[in-house]
Assembly symmetry: C4
Homo-oligomer: 367 residues x 4
């Protein structure tokens, strides 16, 4: 604890950039590393999740993500559920380089209403490809479209906002009672962002199968400048990991998955997120560097198109390789933007670990 | 406390950039947030005050500020009280881009004497528009023009300098006895800058209705380089908030408003200032980005034109929208420069607060 | 120890940039400074070792290093043992400025197999020049080529990888049993990188004559971004120096040399490495600035050409003078890139020290 | 104290940039501030000393400095004592912009021997102008030219090197016995740089009238990169101020003046140096911005021309005004480069101080 001045105190919080991992006295062959991740009844080959952002997750890339062994989540409030054919919109957006114009155009194209039938169609397309199906809604739209989503048949229902609490109070609209909602739903719910012990604990008590830790969209969001809100990720994940332990104890053994969501720009950050206690890591910008990324080099989150207070910025990334190369290699760029899975595997092996769960205990240093 | 070396010690102080806010486990609808602010007998819709700087506050923008629900303060030592028609001066200044030439020209145009009749005229113009009237003088000029200002009829008398103390000692000029001065005056006095517990406490004891915390003009002043003086804002506000509590106790309940003044560049800083304990926030540079700003894209404070030791720099800002858009939105730029009021509202809602006074207690982290 | 959050803690670690040396109350003439360094039976005029990186150590520069009084190490997995005449490859590489192309080309040219007869020839060439002979292999290739190297007749056998442990476990390939390997070998073994007390202690117990501290290739490697692994050098060296003391105690007096390997960019870093406890310092990038450097202005390490996960970047350095001028002066560039030996001598003299071993105890400050 | 790792510890040291001053609850009129400074029998109007660097102190500017009320020190090993007419050399140097060429040329022109008769002539020229006379030698040349200097008649004899100790040991040359030397000399001696309590205490015990704190030539020297030596100034001054107190006690009241020497780039740094405990401040780069500065926009120290290990860099500064304007104003540039004396006066007044000695006790914060 530091004194801001006299009676006002604050804790110091740490970002991924502030920390790094310290190898143990053992090393392991990369052949021995097991990256498999299981949430609810579904298993994945590696603990990397595609973030529900229009610039990276289309029905096609969700399917590709699934085929490679990971989980992709489609944003059910994005262009794919507002437009029968969003391709021209993507092209129009990609053609604009001015940041102010881009924000205005996003505000305009996202004003088009969400269509329930498109939600159904997109989910079905993914299901037919034989990969796990997951779609996300913001808390504001969950009530209206939850039925549609459930009927469409999903493996995971994701409720994702900048800050999602189990106790939202409003007079204008009847807020979502998260606990009741989750109890009624037949599918496992992943919910967040949250960033503190208390807020995560309440999301766990509401029955979530997984919680998203962080406020999402690292490179592309400006919540810090616009709202003054930020909890650096290393500390956020560590705090929520403690909530997971305490909740497991109070619930008599229910293990809630912790999915880091935000500020993951390089493969090293994925390893750090797990080192802080995450079970899996949701990535946005790393996938925006793939040739198949729908954003065509541009990356943005849902904060970017808010009608009166946009809090996200379109960011441009160079394309470094195919979707497959970005995820599972081989890499030909030595900066942590390619072969995310291979890098995690090697990071664990170099540090002497073979299991993700054990890797959460690795020693860290503050740089 | 840190050791600079052996017996010399110093406390660590924090700026807005060093801190951020941590959401609670609750969230609130933005419809539930109450931003109203009351000082003395006057109420405002939101706790944002236009800084008495020529580049942002003209009689016209003061009026606009009032109509939108805030408080604008006119600098009574600026171009509007030195020149019948200052418009050509503003144009001449805006045409110069060289920083050295600009300082010289400012030193020259501000050498023109202040005219009492123009003080009267400007105040009257604002009063006739039906909005709250506030004008500022430096401590050096307060004695000479106080009568004029009082007669002109103001709602708030602002005494503003880089560092204002309740105990100024000088042999060359008879210093202002602040306590006596305030007692005699019929209108409430807002006075500052100050930045420490002790200096604020003495300004409160002198009878001020509000104190300005900070040394003003964040982006545009260079007090730190020229004089070596600086107290980072988060710590300054927190220290003065403690003085407010103690003074309320010793005075038997008199609540002195704390107005943060300086280093507020983005909407997130406004929220942080309140989170540290401010009741309202005085803004300069955010308003310099408005199309109607008299500075025409340039921003400067009164330190900038000092005849022998200028301590402020003209700074250029891109225009982002109308005065109204900057203050109350809608925003189309996601960087904290538009919709200041909406951003504060959302920041509080996301953190789970509905009242400004409660928001002063929000948890902070050091980043 | 810092709290990352609640139960997750981390120590603060320091890099060379974080620290500096504090002179004592004495100064010494540079004539009195003794820089000689002895490891196993071989003595050197100064404790600076050329890093086994193709861009700086060729048979020719190894010989030059030896003649000037230092130790040069040839990379036995580099271009000189893959190609009879690697010169055209160096030229081809130097002609490429695009970083992506360069990585791809390196991946390609280093795919050529290592040839045992070239190992023998290169070692012989160096031996015939009458200077100490040292060659390095990675742990993966040590088993295959150790015999060849030993027969070729070397003074030091260097096993060098990013992270080398005494306990490597793998199922795919039978791992090297370091302890057994070192016991059988007739020549002294220098092994690393390592960065912690525990890992260094185990390398010492395995019988090494010297340990490499750090993960190598400061300027050129990206382990931090790709894997998230980093232990800042000042702390790494200090920790391993403690292991050296404790091992000397437990072994009844065996002194293992500590060779700092990585992040040494300027002559001041060499002094800092010793001040933290190193006996000698392995340098790469400083030598890449020499006119005779085989990399022709470019510098890279063995991480740079990994087939699926390159973790190093080619870096360009301006040539500042001859190999001799870079090492022993005279310097005509005042930035710590020339006269490395003279700078170390003067640093010690200015601080009041004449022996390297004593200089390890100099007072440091955190800047 | 921080752990670098386990048993290696280090204190944190602070630079001027790390700290700032906190105003008290009082302010003072600038008319009340007394800046006079007395060392030995000589009084000055303000505590600012011109650094003995060829780029700022010529016989002419030393005289100008004295007439304005300060103390200028001539470097007796510089171009003015090596060349009858150094003007063409200055012109030749100013015509070169390449940093490498400049170092080489400096190494060449400073190879010209120092001439005793020129020392005499320069000192006489200054004495005849009726201002205080002070010249500096490095420890290495003190023995040879001390007699010449003393006979030439100086008010202060300055011995200045990067690190000067009271106990220098060398076998090559008989070192200067500082204590004996000072006892024999008729004029007061100012000696440094030093940066720690112990080294300063020994210089005080050797009989110096003043000690130079710091390693000199902030902007222009690279001791930190080349040698790894640095003690940040705020901590260095604070530590030596403690030595001054303790020495005053042990000597029964002898007050040794502490002159900060290095890292003073802006007027705010002068105030900070005094706030840390300095009695006076030696400035280089601020004077290099004067139109009359002999360096013609370039600035360098004596480390820059070392024959085998130059440790200083020529730096270019924009000219901001006349020598007089830089020192005593008026200023027309608001960045701390003009009106150094006026800025110190105002800084003290704003903080509520009227005496330099009291200002040494002002409260500081770490930013």
């Amino acid at each position: 604890m530091y004194d801001i001045a006299r009676s006002k105190r604050a804790t110091k919080a740490f970002s991924f950039d502030d920390i790094s991992m310290v190898p143990t006295r053992r090393t392991r062959g990369i052949d021995m590393v097991n990256l498999s991740w299981k949430i609810d009844a579904v298993s994945f080959d590696f603990p990397i999740v595609g973030a529900p952002m229009d610039s990276v997750m289309s029905p096609e890339t969700v399917i590709q993500m699934g085929r490679l062994g990971g989980l992709g989540v489609l944003n059910l409030e994005g262009l794919w559920t507002r437009y029968e054919d969003p391709e021209p919109i993507f092209e129009e957006l990609a053609a604009i380089s001015d940041r102010y114009e881009a924000t205005r155009l996003m505000q305009q194209v996202y004003a088009e209403p969400i269509k329930a039938e498109l939600i159904t169609a997109r989910m079905q397309q993914i299901r037919e490809a034989g990969v796990p199906v997951a779609g996300s809604l913001s808390p504001q739209n969950t009530r209206e479209f939850a039925n549609t989503v459930e009927k469409a048949g999903v493996d995971f229902f994701v409720i994702r906002g900048t800050t999602v609490s189990a106790e939202h109070v409003s007079e204008a609209t009847e807020p979502l009672n998260l606990k009741e909602f989750i109890r009624k739903l037949e599918v496992p719910v992943i919910v967040g962002g949250c960033a503190t012990y208390q807020s995560a604990l309440h999301l766990m008590r509401a029955g979530s199968a997984g919680v998203l830790v962080g406020f999402g969209g690292g490179a592309a969001h400006t919540t810090r400048d616009v709202l003054g809100i930020e909890v650096p990720m290393a500390s956020a994940i560590s705090a929520v990991a403690e909530a997971r332990r305490d909740y497991m104890d109070e619930s008599g053994g229910r293990y809630v998955n912790l999915i880091a969501d935000g500020s993951v720009g390089r493969s090293g950050d994925i390893a750090k997120a797990i080192a802080c206690g995450a079970d899996a890591v949701m990535v946005g910008s790393p996938l925006a560097r793939a040739a198949e990324a729908p954003g065509k080099g541009w990356h943005w989150g849902s904060e970017a198109w808010h009608e009166t207070l946009p809090r996200g910025e379109r960011v441009h990334f160079d394309t470094v390789g195919s979707f497959e190369e970005v995820l599972v290699g081989p890499s030909h760029i030595p900066d942590g933007t390619m072969n995310l899975v291979g890098a995690l595997r090697r990071s664990m092996a170099s540090c002497g670990y073979t299991e993700v769960k054990e890797f959460q205990r690795i020693e860290l240093v503050i740089r």
